[in-house]
Symmetry: C2
Subunit: 133 residues, 2 copies
């Protein structure tokens, strides 16, 4: 059993974050010491690592809550459920990526058209473009 600071330190997060996850139903440490200190079991630590891995993959905390639900009773679900979630997230990411590429390209075009020199910005093509498209 580890105390909150130990587990947090071991996982590179802060105790506050762990309490935050608890408040939001992501990770409920099973035990408390006689004086009320949270005590995390190896299973709790395992679950935290699950959360952090999912987060690193781009899942939101509410996605993760859902994944944990599935994980908690795998037999109630089928592979298609899980794969569906992952693919939905891929699509979501793809949409954002496309949008950001669009923005990046617009900006790059803008930058390319600008001399970028020490000339006064009075005739700056970037500002002109923003002013009147």
């Amino acid at each position: 059993m580890q105390r909150i600071g130990e587990l947090a330190g071991a996982c590179g997060i802060k105790p506050d974050t762990l309490r935050f996850y608890e408040k939001n139903g992501l990770l409920n440490p099973v035990n408390r010491s006689p004086k009320g200190y949270r005590l995390y079991s190896e299973e709790d630590a395992q679950q935290l690592r699950f959360i952090l891995r999912a987060k690193a993959m781009g899942f939101s905390l509410s996605d993760i809550r859902e994944l944990l639900n599935i994980e908690a009773s795998r037999s109630d679900w089928v592979c298609a459920d899980v794969k569906g979630m992952v693919e939905a997230k891929v699509d979501e990411l793809q949409t954002k990526i496309d949008e950001m590429i669009r923005l990046r390209d617009s900006l790059q075009t803008l930058a390319d058209a600008c001399c970028g020199g020490a000339e006064s910005a009075i005739h700056c093509s970037i500002l002109d473009t923003l002013e009147t498209k």
Copy 2:
């Protein structure tokens, strides 16, 4: 001179947004009617369009404040200043894009490894991966 609702409507935003921009120093309508209604001149409308265009290009409101400062006294700046801002934003976007592509690819790999069928998720490779990497 247009009233707030007219200008907002014409630009596809809400009056509240215009007041928000004003409170945040992005757009101060020059005039008020005798009864205190905001009145926007064509220049104000022009500036709003500048703001909205910059926003559509991915600039944050604080970026836009900076661009407006430059725009307001172009002669105090050189092209390099402006181009620098745009290129910094391109880099910022690129960093985010790279990160999101990394996430997308990880998730795609995860999805590809899953049968995605009607089988119980008991042996789901996605959950297994998140559980123990």
